[in-house]
Amino acid sequence: MASTTSKRKIAGGSFLIEETNPREVFTPEDFTEEHLQIAKTAEEFYVNEILPNADKIEQKDFSVTRGLLKKLAELGLTSVDVPEQYGGTDMDKVTSSIIAENISRSGSFSVSFGAHVGIGTLPIVWFGTEEQKQKYLTKIASGEWISAYALSESSSGSDALNCRAKAVLSPDGKHYILNGEKMWITNAGFADVFIVFAKVDGEKFSAFIVERNSPGFAVGAEEHKLGIRGSSTAPLILNDCKVPVENLLGDIGKGHIIAFNILNVGRFKLGAACIGGAHESLKHSIQWAKDRKAFGKTIADFGLIREKIAQMAVGIYAGESLVYRTVGMMDAALSEIDKSAPDATREIRKAIEEYAVECSIIKVWASEMLDGIVDETVQIYGSYGYVEEYPAERAYRDSRINRIFEGTNEINRLIITGWLMKRAMSGQLALLPAIKRLMDEVMSGPSMPEEDDRPLAAERAIVASARKLSLLIAGAASQKYMQALVDKQEVMGAIADMVIETYAMDTCVARAERLLAAKGEAGASLAVAMTRAYLSGSMAIVERMAKKVMADVAEGDMLRTQMSILRRLTKYEPINVIAAQEQIAAKVLEQGKYIL
């Protein structure tokens, strides 16, 4: 078949400097039969087990949450990231994301699940000693023990490395004595084992495995939250808390490596979970729109409602394309690693870290996409969206947290631009040559575009322009601010937005191209419409951000030159987004849910 993916190891961030070969882009259409079956098991579990218990979960009946986590563990769904020798099912990151997406359709349980299987488990998988793995992973994989991750404190969240919790070796050298507090800890109310970060001797940032029944360990009162009320969030109080020395995780002073590595995984899984939430909201919106009558019609007949439904579907399309493209790249890189080699876990971490920028993009993009969807779901429900009896209200509250944890979206935007700049400076990513090539190209004046009458040629051209604009602006901004760019956050943020949109558009187009190759025009028509609808809004963001930065970094002739380049790069026939959305809405409403 012409459209199978090929598994070349792709460098992180390369979408920004080279044209994408769609055949190298993993898409949901590449799921194996096994993947689909796992998706089905997870979805059935959500529908039959989680959904009927949603109210009990919301009442903070943690025994229900624990029971469900145990059942999930028995099915093998909580341990895909755990090696087989510790009772895990050890599967690829695509599987891991598929499970996150399908289990995480309602906020509260999704967060408990995510903290346990992700940030609570992975530190031990990646940094644990053999003894730690034997002791803890087996229990975590079987669901006997629930885990949690304690990094934040009341006075340090984003700035987590600046924590106050302190660890001092006991005089007999057998224990670390931990003092301090941790705040906002998911699963704290019922977890059995915690990954706790503290500074050895108040200086060396390090991680520890702390059991709930350790002397001097206490969990404070539950927070009263805006959303995800059925999840547990509470502080930890460490009062001369005795932790055996063998529970030091990783090396002293290297806690930041643990913290940052874990967050990469947390971020793409959060993205997958947001897709799950989006499916649920869209389903509710469709149902309501079809049932609710006004002016002698159902509201699903109204263009402004149909437009919202179409945009939600486009959000899911772009979101799942982003998540699975990224984890597909990870799996391709991971498949080259010999898992029995002594340094295997380090190689695995490195392979994932390679895609740090994509993980941050997913985190920001998907959390904002879901927030948009739950907001419009409330709108479609009208007054019924504003009361607790209907699902829109809870989803609206539940979604909000995604922009705050796993690194706030501000922090992640800074990471995106900062990471790219760093890679460019170190020469790991050929960003500077790409910028130079581009400058040469634009300075040589307008050229006749090459004839391209293949399908999606116009869309590919838009992506190419977005890529060029991002490079142009990144180049102009770094030239102006040099090292001080990191302090010019508004510019960093605008560049991040351009990068995010470029990756998203590029991914949508690549998937549509794959579908066209595999299924022909009729089979790909919905994907093409969604791609076009996405591009239309996305390119507008790129343009806006480009102008915003240009106006800041240039003036006079320089600004006029840059503006003329921008105009050249943004000269494309406007996409008929209304027609595209009408087509999408008709299909989605007919199906009653998002199916591609």
Partner: protein, 268 residues
Amino acid sequence: MLRPNGPVARCWVKILVCMKQVPQKDAPLKLNEGGTWIREDVSYEVNEPDAYALEEALRQKEKHGGEVVVITAGPARAQQVLREALAKGADRAIHLEDDRFVGLDAFNVARAFAAAIKEDAFDLIFTGLQSDDYGYAQTGVLLAELMGWPHATIIMQIEKKDSGIRVKRELEAGFFQFVEMPLPAVLTIQSGINKLRYATLIGIKQAKNKPMRKVSWDDVSGAVGENLQKVEKLYVPQKTKKTEYLEGSPAEVAKKLVDKLRNEVRVL
């Protein structure tokens, strides 16, 4: 094979479960161009009663040992139901793979099954009570006849006896019937008699390596006759609205209304 927990040397249950792939319950159906069946581009799933039949077979196997084999007749896509069954614990699968099995009458499907399992010696054959698409409830009964075996339908419960099995059948109006019957036998299983299991990740991983025997149309065509069933026309019922004013004195109107409710609408 030895039974894990019993004195009887021969494991008595070697069960065949007949499973069908049908359009998903909530899938929006569209008629095909000829108006003779639905269009193929819908989502499919396991016929619900068949899922219960499989679950029952797996439970019997867990209790008494033995083997569970699943069989389906349908195009390539139908293999999915077999994979799912293997992931849930079935030991092997038989796929009669051909587009011509779509829309084939129950008698010929039963003949094809009988031909395909000639070499196997099953003790029990389970089918779902009926399929969610055509809903004929015939395949199991016809298969029993072809095999020369006894059968019982609408089974709620199965219990092993020395002489064979004792089954509970669901009758009308809340009545049940208990039947003792010898083996081998065919049972058609009612939905909801047990709690379906999920396919575990390990099960899904292992399913790949379980045997799946393909049977072609040619392999069984000698046993299959001309399709005895033809759907002439399939259509979506026309919804019509008719408003009728009942006239006369209140007493007359009331009388007419009662008459209509009783004899036309038949709700009284």
